[in-house]
Symmetry: C2
Subunit: 700 residues, 2 copies
């Protein structure tokens, strides 16, 4: 640990606004510090009292025998600000500000107070957590600088999980659920308004703790991307899975945007892309945040995503397979050797296909799990296992089942989730350290998260992580390029554009057509001021060579009539893709460059079929994104259509991503639609062509 060590292991803690009542905000931290074995000095500060909870109390921070390393601010309003300023002046290293009523209210006074705190901190280097913070807790050192009531409800126990949250409730909930499940928690941080120290910054600190094996995050916004990227890098280095929950998915407002890309690359979509790129699993609910914790804490790492399903009920076998399909987990195809071993192990009427129904014979033959599971463990294609026991109880040797499943997990390293609806039976399996859910859908969902997250992690490991520095593009004025300039820019960055000639004189038209190898051609009036070219009659398709000059004259006349700058006429080769794709990019004020890849055509906004990518990304990343599109189903060639060249499309996306990272390219926003997708191995190489494009550039 480095920059924020003092918050996790302070030599001394002052509690300003200390209370004798161990249930009050100013009282609880004192109680927790004492109960949790904090070894440093505790200084209650309260001008009304000489003793608080058995400790000497001081009238003011100035009266303390030493300058405390950390101060908890449990007083409010102007007094809080005055205390913080004094702490800074005295040389306190860090303050945890529990008081609320500041920036989160949105009122001017609160914001002014926050500015004052920040100012004092900036002058002296003091760091601030909060305000409006429930506080920080490190159960390894006993440094519990928090008033969370949950530490009373569910007594703490040091462990391998770190919880870092911007919300107090969303720190307490995972803490409570983990503790209720008997899982130890080392850190339980709730940061609040994050005016200085951010949740991500603290997360970067705790994920470096060698004892931490799992990090759970709750974020209200994803703002401190540098720290979050550091969290991801450290976590990937150390092999610590990170699960993040971020609310507001449904309210993601579409940006008021000048282009498709703006409307499609929504903030929530970018958050998804950012987290995925960094190997962080995005949970969808508080349940998802903790559901797979028991799996993550197991030793070993899964080797793939294929599962086996074993149950004493055929119906549960079928329902579990349904749940696996829903979560995108493949049910493993067993090897011939495995099936032949299963035939020996199972009753004659049981199925040796996966899912494996050991049948109700389990009641009379308690050895079935012990015989079947090891066989599955030897099948290299089984990376996870769901064991469903819908019915057990008197007459069943549940202890033996638990031993057999647990032995299997220990000896093979294959993770097992159990689906056991009877709570008394579930308890027996839990006591053996197994991960148990009440139903097959929950069990499969947790296993899917665990297995698929490790695939995500493996992919993220191969990436260079971190955000490109936000450059001056955001502040510079913007220029809309005309279509000819846009197509030229695309060519210059490595995105193939349709072959075309820009003419400024109708007399040049015939020569231009010849240069393109003859008609028919496409002719478009070119003006950076024209936004709806088709509607204005500025696009003509299939113009024969002989009519080119006349059409160019018409275009010029139209531009003049509409009062649009005449920037020439584009004469382009006719090109028709097998399918139409789109490619876009924008420079996001928070995330930097974002690339959009998807189905093209006139309905990209009404029926979007897109994926987002954060540069830099690889050809494989781009191909994977294309593979997730709905149109992927037809790109390989169906109904007599040839397969399109996916590599060419992916390469164009990578080129665009690289250009977005280059401040010199100065691309602010870019739309290519359609991007004609041409046959793999066909005449046109590379087999992808931008035929219409708009680029908005930062002027410089």
């Amino acid at each position: 640990m480095s920059g924020l060590r003092f918050f996790h292991d302070p030599a001394s803690v002052a509690v300003i606004g200390a209370s004798s009542d161990p249930e009050k905000i100013g009282g609880r931290p004192i109680r927790y510090l004492q109960e949790c074995g904090f070894a440093g000095a505790i200084y209650p500060v309260n001008p009304q009292r000489s003793e608080i909870q058995g400790l000497v109390a001081y009238p003011s921070i100035d009266a303390l025998p030493v300058v405390p390393e950390v101060a908890i601010i449990a007083v409010s309003g102007a007094n809080a600000v005055a205390q913080i300023v004094r702490c800074a002046e005295l040389g306190v290293a860090g303050c945890v500000i529990m008081a609320s009523g500041f920036g989160e209210t949105g009122d001017e006074q609160g914001l002014a107070w926050q500015a004052e705190m920040l100012d004092a901190a900036a002058r002296t280097g003091m760091r601030i957590v909060g305000p409006n913070s429930q506080g920080l807790a490190n159960f390894a050192t006993g440094a519990v600088l928090s008033f969370s009531t949950l530490f009373t409800e569910q007594p703490p126990e040091d462990g391998a999980v770190a919880v870092v949250s911007q919300s107090g409730a969303l720190c307490s909930v995972p803490y409570g659920l983990l503790r209720e499940a008997g899982i130890g928690v080392r850190y339980a941080h709730a940061t609040g308004n994050d005016i200085d120290v951010t949740a991500a910054e603290l997360a970067a600190e705790v994920v470096a703790d060698p004892e931490v094996k799992l990090l759970l995050l709750y974020l209200e916004d994803i703002a401190d991307l540098d720290s979050l990227a550091e969290v991801a890098r450290t976590a990937l280095d150390r092999g610590v899975p990170v699960v993040a929950l971020k609310g507001g998915r449904s309210e993601a407002g579409q940006r008021a945007a000048a282009s498709h890309t703006g409307a499609l690359a929504t903030e929530e979509g970018v958050v998804d892309a950012f987290l995925e790129k960094h190997g962080i699993w995005r949970a969808r609910s508080t349940r998802d945040l903790v559901a797979a914790a028991g799996l993550y804490l197991r030793p070993g790492r899964p080797a793939g995503e294929q599962i086996a399903i074993v149950s004493n009920s055929g119906a549960i076998c079928v329902l579990t397979a349904d749940a696996a399909a829903e979560e995108g987990l493949p049910v493993a195809e067993l090897t011939v050797a495995t099936k032949s071993e299963l035939t020996e192990a199972l009753p004659s009427f049981a199925s040796v296909e996966n899912p494996i129904d050991v049948t109700a014979a389990l009641l009379t033959d308690s050895s079935l799990f012990g015989r079947v599971l090891p066989v599955l463990g030897r099948d290299g294609g089984v990376h996870g296992c769901v064991v469903g026991i819908p019915v057990a109880g008197r007459g069943y040797d549940v202890d033996r089942f638990a031993r057999d499943v647990s032995d299997f997990e220990d000896s093979t390293g294959v993770p097992v989730v159990m689906a056991v609806p009877q709570s008394n039976i579930a308890r027996v399996f839990r006591e053996k350290g197994l991960v148990v859910f009440a139903d097959e859908s929950e069990a499969v969902r947790a296993l899917a998260q665990y297995l698929r997250h490790h695939t995500l992690i493996a992919r993220a490991r191969s990436r260079e992580l971190g955000r490109c520095a936000l450059d001056s593009r955001l502040r510079e004025p913007r220029t809309v390029l005309n279509e000819s300039e846009s197509l030229r820019l695309l060519e210059s960055i490595g995105v193939p554009a349709v072959e075309h000639v820009l003419v400024h004189d109708a007399a040049e038209a015939a020569e231009a057509v010849e240069q393109l190898g003859g008609g028919p051609v496409v002719i478009k009036g070119c003006s950076s001021e024209a936004t709806h070219k088709s509607e204005l009659g500025l696009v003509r398709i299939g113009v024969p060579a002989g009519e080119a000059e006349a059409v160019v004259q018409q275009m010029f006349a139209t531009l003049a009539r509409e009062g649009l700058a005449n920037e020439g006429a584009i004469i382009a080769r006719m090109i028709k893709g097998v399918h139409e794709g789109m490619l876009g990019a924008r420079f996001d004020p928070v995330f930097g460059p974002v690339v959009v890849i998807g189905a093209g055509g006139i309905h990209v906004e009404a029926m979007p079929d897109v994926q987002l990518l954060l540069p830099p990304f690889s050809l494989d990343d781009a191909l994977a994104a294309i593979g997730r599109l709905r149109i992927a189903a037809v790109l390989g060639g169906v109904r007599g259509a040839p397969a399109v060249d996916l590599d060419a499309w992916a390469a164009a996306a990578v080129a665009l991503g690289d250009a977005m990272l280059d401040p010199a390219a100065a691309i602010h926003e870019l739309d290519v639609n359609p991007l004609m997708l041409l046959p793999r191995g066909g005449e046109v190489q590379p087999a992808v062509r931008a035929v219409d494009a708009v680029v908005i550039r930062s002027a410089h």
Copy 2:
């Protein structure tokens, strides 16, 4: 109750294969009958014993003092068959056959034995449940003809829920979960192989019981549609919600089919359409099957689907709104009056928008729920409520919260679901009769099921339910109509087709073009033997009037060259839709007629965007199905395109549905693709035109 009364309230029960061991299959029913207060006579049959579990035992069924009304068969194999035959001969009304090893094994002996049982039953009118049945249980009369171990694990209590399942495990699981939640269960039936009495037939019987308020079904196949339709009719009449779980969603094999419609109208899709039409909610997992039970058992019915969200955590407010969006539940827009009342009720810094964050002030002001909820109850736009309490415990007046929420529910009838992760806090709310989940996503999912199911029920009430009788179509030979015949058939049933003329002589071409108002026209070679017309060059678009004769000659030459029957040439008016739709139908061997409506074009199979409808259905049903298509987003007119005439499309679908019900129309399978969707209020009326069609007819 009528036809199967004796299974639910028999005067006497014989147990053939009775056991003294109350844990054995032949012993458990005797124990349960005695423990559950069965008032009829119990006759253990076992040639080895004179007394079993305190009752006189008899050596054979023939030795009993009376002919028992019901017999449980707990012996196996050939002996079971012999006993069943004897029961039938003696006049036993019904047998419950627990023995397995019959049809479910798939082996010939098992199937032959089943046939023998059925035969004996048919001769005498005896009814058979099973074989391979866990048995039936009626806890109202104590007629527990079942060996389920769960009745030992979770002692029964009579209540308002009926569980009917084809699987033993999937009867025991919901029974156990309901009992663990303190909910009473009246019926717990597990039927097995259903060779005579089906699960649906028993369900139709129990759903008519005036005390039953909720029916949960587990079905392995949906075969007995007449009984299922009867279940639905009775349930709708009585206001009893029916929730069905059916496994095998993921394995739904695509039928080997001669048409798009065949491939698109998958068995599982038809099951969905059937259940939805009948107002039955389809659960996705065992959890879903029981999760909303507590809500269903409340008095009152919801008035809509809009919800309010209240929590003492802003983060939970946001996450709950996300979950609502995911489940398709609208978050209610509060009225001005409600907001103004909320302003009075809430702390100044709390939000009066829905979701409503009562803030951490709940700790110091325990009256907040009591003040806020009644205000929401007076807002007519709130049909359900989620209350999330992520943090509570010492210092919180949880009893008061529970009272306030419960009073709100009782006085307003607005259903409430709670999201409470701390199990000790959840218990307090449960004890007040509230429906509590551990997290917001589960709570919202259950509420969504409850509210949306009632919308489904309300729609189903307006429908005429039941299946059209399966007619002879399935057995008759089939004829593929050529395109001209297909289009004529469409016209005859009320699906508008493109205007066209069939010519048999090239010399008639010019006159035909004139008849259609002049060229250009579309010309197609017509042959019921041609399946890939385009690939063979049998389709020519944009043929000028002057070339029509030559093109027809070419078509005839092509037909001759390919050895295809020359059934003429179709000369059709050129027509281009704003969008392309599709319409299809097939006659399913189980469900009867199925209509498919969706996006048209060449990718209907690779990127399907379809909905299924079971005739008869209304214009509103068809419009609702169109509204669920992805292309619905563009049909109203985007990017300068006019809105298409959805009513015309829906009317064509209704006409097709009606024709499918008409045995005289004799349509076996039908594909219209594309169905051109034309502008609402445009020149062509009705604004929809089939331009290509294939009809497979039952010859008759």
